[in-house]
């Protein structure tokens, strides 16, 4: 039943973008997001868009994958477009009908906000498409580790994320198994009103919770018996290292963003 779900959206590959350090990708993503929000000009939006397309091509991610991550955006996009179109009333009036008034400023803002959303989601999707979830949490941990001075639990957060990601497929499989077992005992999960359906889920949720607790217990035991004691003094098998490629990517990206913002100024 859950076999067809693909988890995360990592697209396996070995492109230059895939091989970038996750920290580079995360930091450049933040710079990119800032640029998307600062740009206030149609042509410059196109320039940012061209940059995103360029990265996509370099990453050799099929357009269909990117499209899939943009698809859920349709409704929000439409909503934001209409809202901006009707609510912002600056500049010349282009259209007037009853209480509806569309102005030039509104139209421009509606387009800007749509482009921003598309570029935002598309760009961040590129990061998750080209980085494994594990590498992402690893990068995040390293980026947040300076905050340890303020007792920010960067390592613990990253470990929690890693474990959660690791167990999602396991739990799905388990849920599938339990569901099938209860179905063959005559469970009816499909009919009845919402309360009856919620009640029908109890025979699935109780065993699922119990096995999650059991698994958590076993995992904790296994980690402790391998001397896990948090981040202190912990070394890594895969040490993240910035390479020349990262420097190049940063220079190109930041250079382009600087150019775009300069052009705007």
């Amino acid at each position: 039943m859950f076999k067809d779900i693909t988890l995360g959206q990592y697209f396996p590959g070995n492109s230059p973008i895939h091989r970038l350090d996750p920290r580079t990708k995360l930091l450049l993503m933040i710079a990119y997001i800032a640029a998307v929000f600062l740009v206030q000009d149609m042509w410059l939006f196109l320039a940012v868009g061209a940059f995103a397309v360029g990265v996509t091509l370099l990453a050799r991610v099929p357009a269909s994958y990117l499209w899939r991550s943009l698809k859920p955006l349709r409704l929000i996009l439409l909503f934001m477009f209409v809202l901006n179109l009707l609510m912002i009333q600056t500049g010349d009036t282009l259209f007037h009908w009853g209480f509806l008034r569309i102005t030039e400023g509104g139209l421009r803002q509606a387009f800007y906000i749509s482009f921003r959303l598309i570029l935002l989601v598309g760009g961040t999707s590129l990061v998750t498409l080209t980085t494994t979830p594990i590498a992402l949490t690893d990068g995040l941990e390293r980026l947040l580790s300076p905050l340890a001075v303020f007792r920010f639990p960067a390592h613990e957060l990253a470990m929690i994320m890693t474990i959660a990601l690791r167990f999602i497929p396991t739990l799905l499989e388990e849920a599938d198994k339990i569901m099938k077992a209860q179905l063959s005992r005559g469970a009816d999960l499909e009919s009845g009103n919402i309360f009856q359906r919620a009640k029908a889920m109890v025979p699935i949720l109780v065993p699922l919770f119990i096995s999650s607790f059991r698994r958590a217990d076993e995992l904790a035991m296994a980690m402790e018996s391998r001397c896990y004691h948090g981040s202190e003094g912990r070394t890594r098998m895969h040490v993240l290292r910035f390479s020349r490629r990262d420097g190049l990517a940063a220079a190109v990206t930041l250079g382009l963003i600087a150019l775009i913002l300069l052009a705007q100024a």
């Binding site: 067809d4 099938k180 077992a181 209860q182 063959s184 005992r185 005559g186 699935i204 109780v206 119990i210």
Partner: protein
């Protein structure tokens, strides 16, 4: 009256790059009262076949009929489900109620039986698996030992009184005592109610001892089906599929190699009986 698998094929994730045939073109019939042992390596399609027979998966090719009811049809499947009892691997992980009695009653209750009938069935099933109602009925299923949990879960399926009981490695992870208890329960149930049993197992000895017929699966295909005597003569074939003969068979072969004239036997009892008989004449 039988479960009929008519050229059944099942392909996981059909139409995607990851599509994989778990079961291909299986023809098999389980008559009422049969005891079929199913053997095969991990990944041979046994578990998929079990789910197909229970109507939990729909074949991508061919048909599964239970007493003439087509499991591919939603209505007929609903009518056929109570006839087939499925016991999955590690069934104790599906226990969920506050008491053992309530958990065992879940299946019969879903069948829409009257409360008295449900209770009668729960009592019968619990007696049968060796968990007397009066001692275990009010216990929490989570307070039981591993073997007892397994038996409680088995009772939950038995209480539905299926015509066909299908078990996917019912003894996995149990100690020898627990294994024997489960096996005896299954054999006893079959004798008492006349239901057919399909048992997937990795233990050649258990299959040899209890099954009337054996089906050998390999990479989703039915390689051979027949009486245990027939199957265990195909030593070379079984070996090539990564399967061993049951221990009594191997012992008999070893004795034969040393010049003792042992007849083809495949159960402990038969071999022991032969050796005892022979001992008398020496």
């Amino acid at each position: 009256m039988a479960i009929q698998l008519q050229n059944v094929t099942y392909i996981y994730m059909e139409g995607s790059v990851l599509s994989q045939a778990a079961v291909s073109d299986i023809r098999l019939e389980i008559q009422e009262g049969d005891f079929l042992g199913m053997i095969g390596h991990t990944g041979s399609g046994k578990s998929t076949l079990v789910q197909l027979m229970g109507g939990l998966l729909q074949p991508t090719g061919g048909r599964v009929l239970v007493d003439g009811l087509d499991l591919g049809d939603k209505k007929q499947r609903k009518a056929a489900r109570p006839r087939v009892g499925l016991v999955f691997q590690y069934p104790e992980y599906q226990l969920f109620e506050e008491t053992v009695a309530k958990d065992v009653a879940y299946g019969p209750h879903n069948l829409g039986l009257a409360p008295e009938e449900v209770e009668a069935r729960v009592r019968r099933a619990m007696e049968l698996v060796g968990l007397p109602y009066d001692r275990f009925g009010e216990k929490s299923p989570f307070a039981l030992s591993g073997g007892e949990k397994r038996r409680a879960a088995l009772a939950g399926v038995i209480a539905m009184e299926p015509r066909y009981l299908i078990l996917d490695e019912p003894m996995a992870g149990l100690d020898p005592m627990g294994r024997k208890a489960i096996l005896e329960t299954i054999a006893g149930l079959r004798q008492e109610t006349g239901c057919a049993v399909v048992m997937v197992s990795h233990s050649m000895e258990d299959v040899a001892q209890y099954a009337q017929r054996i089906a050998v699966l390999h990479q989703g295909r039915l390689v051979k089906a027949g009486a245990p005597g027939e199957i265990f003569q195909e030593e070379a074939l079984l070996r090539s599929l990564g399967l061993e003969l049951p221990v009594p068979c191997r012992l008999a072969a070893a004795l034969r190699a040393r010049g003792m004239d042992v007849p083809p036997v495949y159960t402990e009892e038969a071999l022991a009986a032969f050796l005892l008989e022979r001992g008398k004449h020496v």
